[in-house]
């Protein structure tokens, strides 16, 4: 009896959360297409998300490309298939590892800082102050972050794709002693536009989710420093989980026909 009540409460709480999140996302998106927008704030968020995430995303990408080359060499060595390694590297990076790893890294970096910043503004009444100064908090705080996430993640992933392939090239050429020209040619032959485009679409969705979860958790945080801490954790965890789930769904959408 008590157990059922507990399950009921958890389910209801979860549904309430989903409902609130959906309304939040809808409100945010509707504000994205209605003026006024704040170009200065959008620009600052874009620099924050795009430019300052470059080192960590680049580092992740280059080591992923390198380890992919190394791993597939141990598998393919018997066939001495240089082209197969180039193939594995470029497909894995563009389709999966580029967007997912970049998404997870940015979720940790940006999702956390968004939730902390907006959460602190909530508990110190700065968000209330915004609305008394005739400024819509959604337009001022949420919209710039969502737009920046939506547009900067694909750019980041494009860079990650290139760096990741380069990592595979480094290991193949300098460690495994492959012919550079053959490696580059087989990479270029194998990769299809859809591989890259699907990865960029994923990136845009992930960017949206990261900003959404960062803003949502910050916006509804309560109860001082502890509440802000909880919001930060929730933002990162929920964004990461959503990234993994939507990654599967999008892969199915793009490639399983």
């Amino acid at each position: 009896m008590n157990f059922l009540a507990l399950i009921g409460r958890v389910v209801l709480g979860f549904l309430g959360h989903i409902g609130r999140l959906t309304i939040f996302a809808g409100t945010a998106l509707s504000h994205c297409v209605r003026p006024p927008l704040y170009p200065r704030l959008i620009g600052r968020q874009m620099i924050d998300i795009g430019y300052y995430s470059l080192p960590v995303v680049g580092l992740t990408a280059i080591f992923s490309g390198m380890v992919l080359a190394l791993q597939s060499y141990t598998g393919f060595a018997r066939f001495s298939a240089e082209s197969a390694i180039a193939n594995v590297v470029v497909l894995s990076i563009t389709r999966e590892l580029g967007p997912v790893l970049a998404g997870l890294m940015v979720a940790g970096r940006i999702g956390a800082s968004m939730a902390a910043e907006i959460g602190t503004m909530r508990v110190t009444e700065q968000i209330d102050a915004l609305s008394t100064l005739s400024t819509n908090p959604f337009k001022y705080l949420v919209v710039p972050r969502i737009l920046a996430g939506l547009f900067m993640l694909p750019l980041l992933v494009l860079v990650a794709d290139i760096i990741g392939v380069f990592g595979g090239y480094l290991v193949s050429v300098y460690k495994l002693g492959f012919n550079p020209g053959v490696y580059i040619n087989s990479t270029a032959d194998f990769v299809q536009p859809l591989d890259v485009i699907s990865g960029l679409v994923k990136a845009a969705v992930f960017g949206f989710l990261i900003s959404l979860m960062g803003c949502y958790n910050g916006y509804y945080s309560k109860g001082g420093a502890q509440g802000v801490g909880a919001a930060t954790t929730n933002a990162v965890v929920s964004a990461s989980i959503l990234i993994l789930i939507t990654n599967y769904l999008l892969t199915e959408l793009f490639f399983s026909t």
Partner: protein
């Protein structure tokens, strides 16, 4: 009262969960009048202000500003109404991502679309009115002492030339001298300019000094409203206990919630 009230509250109620915070508040504030609401911590003083400002929605009752009901207006009209308001928050609620002058000029730049250069001049003029040097304008709010933050918050509240100003515990947390400086500034910037003011405080010295009328909130109702000069002979034992700061009396502190 001869003229129509600037603010008219009728039976305003607000509950959080099963906790009834405001339980039928009635109050009229005349143009250019300064009303101070006193009451213990956690009695719903801040909630009352937030209901008038539209940060919280009252569960029932009427909030009229200049004769129009603002209880259920859409967010777009709310921005227009809020242009009449200035608000000094309990913790000043300055935007810590912006320098002091942009805090003061925030409403001018966002709400009224004033160019930055002109807005900065206005901000520095307003800072001078609250006794702060122009050089303070370029500091970050976190570099200021509590008293200076309150002064900047006051400058931000008066910068947009509001018709009505709300003060949430303007002197709380300040030393007695700084508290009196703030009182004098409120008198100079608000009462002497004919701006309508609604303040809340539990500082009796401040209440006597800045208020024309004083009202006392207890258990969600205004149990006494009268001329500030008569607060010592209100004939109300609750008011007497509060004004004299006695632990014994009809008001029992709830030590457990």
């Amino acid at each position: 009262m001869s003229s129509a009230p600037k603010i008219h509250l009728k039976d305003v109620r607000k509950a959080f969960g099963d906790k009834q915070v405001l339980n039928g508040i009635d109050l009229d504030v005349a143009p250019a009048e300064s009303v101070v609401i006193i009451g213990g911590s956690g009695t719903g003083k801040s909630v009352l202000l937030k209901c008038i400002l539209g940060i919280l929605n009252a569960d029932s009752g009427v909030v009229d500003v200049d004769g129009t009901d603002v209880t259920h207006i859409p967010a777009s009209t709310r921005g227009e109404v809020n242009k009449k308001f200035g608000m000094l928050f309990q913790g000043a609620a300055l935007f810590d991502s912006l320098p002091v002058w942009e805090n003061v000029a925030f409403g001018l730049m966002q709400g009224e679309r004033m160019p930055r250069k002109q807005a900065k001049e206005r901000a520095i003029e307003t800072l001078a009115k609250v006794g702060l040097a122009a050089s303070v304008g370029d500091l970050s709010p976190s570099e200021l002492s509590g008293g200076m933050q309150k002064r900047v918050g006051l400058a931000r509240a008066i910068a947009g030339n509001p018709e009505i100003i709300f003060f949430d515990e303007p002197t709380t947390g300040l030393d007695p001298i700084m508290a009196d400086v703030i009182n004098d500034l409120i008198i100079a910037c608000v009462r002497d300019k004919g701006i309508t003011a609604l303040s809340i405080t539990h500082d009796m010295h401040s209440a006597r000094k800045i208020g024309d009328r004083i009202g006392m909130i207890y258990e969600g109702r205004l149990i006494w409203v009268g001329d500030a000069k008569t607060v010592d002979r209100s004939g109300n034992e609750y008011v007497d206990q509060f004004v004299n700061g006695r632990a014994e009396g009809p008001i029992k502190m709830q030590l457990r919630r």
